[in-house]
Symmetry: C2
Subunit: 343 residues, 2 copies
């Protein structure tokens, strides 16, 4: 794998001293960009994911506009259950919609672990096209959902405030729940290995819903599967583990072999350092809604955030995905505030 | 005020040594009870809240069935904005619906602080009728929403995953946001003082949405208003402050003058003790979804929870409201496991 010209992001992942922290934004290839909306008006959600020319174009859009220090492949965490023959639709105004949720041990038994090159080959093709378009400028991140988060959608069948159906399966039939989590994990490991083989420089795991579990249940139903993925990937590429709402697990996650941990904005930078033991690279944690503040406020808050984390072993980012209603100038102010940071 | 025959709950709030912890469940007067559903089929939501005979009957239903150590007056946090002339509907399947959300400084200027005896007198009447029905058996808790949580609904107009509109008002027009928060706070203080005068033995503040804010924004937009309420009430009745998802604020809240702090299940009992300094009474924190586990599992987990918190300065409870789909026997197993606890 060639080192990109801008290797700040990879150096931060290795814990090297840097002149300033690297910066990117979760969902940076997203609905706040007019060039993204223009494509969205022509192609539906999964067409954009499954057409390498479109996915690669969407991936590089924010880099062209703002010059972040890393690109992240445009895709969706739910392409994994799709590849497992679990039907997934994206309903406008509703979000993910799975017409046949997996609810029972019998349902779980019918779920298979697919050949990822066969079912997700379009993602690998999108990676190769994106690398061509980036032409070595910045590194490319590949991602996957945490098995627990995929499980939540697969069992619940849609987004939810508390994913009560998903939790009900765990607490009434833990054996079936673990069988499904293992199948998702096996698929995800094969999927991420293929992404690394196709050329991504790092992978990020998104556990959006881990924070709905108690620490003990998180260990049992989420973390042990994330650990399997980290174990399988860490010698192939740096792994960033982001578990929203899981401040309570930062200590355990810091010892997992992951290169970096993502943190959300409910943890102060100082507390995140303390909870994670002070040695691992951290990524985050600007409140996405705070990008509604005036640009000069954003700038001051970003600099305070960097001082809080320290400029080394740190990747500046939001604490979750950028919101669709953020003005372009505000997103730019966030990126620029990091790029102009001087100790 | 007379001391109830069962004063375990009040003794735990005072930090006295008890033979076993007291127990009640958030939303214990709720949809898992067939006797509640029978009334719900006859009367709509706000009729139940506003009719003292119905509200008092619903309040004592769970006490009759399970003998918890405290009753909590059946009502809703949104009766406060209603009293402020902000229209609130309860849409079946949707939840709270405010047809005219407060979105601008001009909207905020039109909001008034009402005479609570005039607008919420029905609540005081429900308290008096409930005390009659309880006949001194157990204490009665009154509650209110935290100003921040009321603000979230008032600005957003409905439930939301991230209350982006409410946060947008804070971050684009903080002056208007603070003006509205202060009006809600003033109303809430008058409301809770009237409740105490009507005879409730303790009050609980619910901050359901504080956990969507960063620690700094929580202090600015939520905590300072909760502190005003605690200051105004603490010499009249013990105050329990429950801020879901706000583990990061437990230290500050422990020094507020509140008699107890509620905690949710994402904080282990040991970590909750550590974060809150080890001296204040804590309340919680069983995952409501865990009541789907078999009764023998519930029993073992409850005993582990009590050992984790310690039996003193502790009130056993869920970490949020009981879910509608919990079997009666499982709710009973939770209550009984606490009542039979022996060091």
């Amino acid at each position: 794998m060639n080192t990109p010209k801008n290797d700040l992001f990879l150096r931060a992942l290795r814990g090297e001293t840097v002149s300033r922290p690297p910066v990117w934004m979760m969902r940076q290839a997203g609905r706040y960009l007019p060039e993204f909306i223009a494509l969205r008006e022509q192609y539906d959600f999964f067409t954009r994911c499954q057409t390498p020319e479109l996915a690669s174009e969407i991936t590089v859009q924010p880099i062209r506009r703002y010059g972040m220090d890393a690109a992240i492949l445009f895709s969706d965490i739910l392409v994994v259950p799709q590849a497992m023959d679990i039907e997934v639709e994206m309903k406008p105004g509703v979000g993910p919609w799975l017409p046949n949720p997996v609810r029972t041990a019998a349902d779980v038994a019918r779920v298979g672990v697919p050949d990822v090159e066969d079912r997700l080959g379009y993602v690998m093709e999108a990676i190769r096209m994106t690398l061509d378009k980036l032409d070595g400028a910045v590194p490319l991140i590949g991602f996957a959902g945490a098995p627990w988060t995929i499980f939540c959608y697969t069992v619940q069948g849609q987004g939810s405030k508390n994913f009560d159906q998903a939790k009900a399966l765990c607490f009434t039939d833990p054996e079936a729940a673990h069988a499904l989590l293992q199948k998702i994990t096996d698929t995800t490991i094969a999927y991420l290995k293929a992404k690394v083989a196709a050329g991504v420089h790092a992978v990020q795991l998104f556990d959006s819903w881990g924070g709905m579990l108690s620490p003990g249940d998180y260990r049992e139903f989420s973390w042990q599967y994330l650990q399997q993925i980290v174990d399988a990937l860490k010698d192939l590429a740096p792994v960033i583990a982001f578990a929203k709402g899981c401040w309570f697990a930062l200590e355990e996650m810091a010892g997992s072999g992951a290169a970096a941990l993502g943190v959300d904005w409910t943890v102060s930078p100082q507390e995140a350092r303390r909870l994670s033991g002070g040695k691992i690279t951290l990524q985050g944690n600007f409140d996405p809604s705070r990008l509604l503040s005036p640009p000069q406020t954003i700038r001051a808050m970003v600099h305070e955030m960097i001082r809080g984390f320290g400029k080394d072993r740190y990747i500046a980012n939001l604490g979750h995905g950028i919101l669709p209603n953020i003005p372009l100038e505000h997103a730019g102010a966030f990126i620029k505030a990091v790029q102009e940071y001087e100790g």
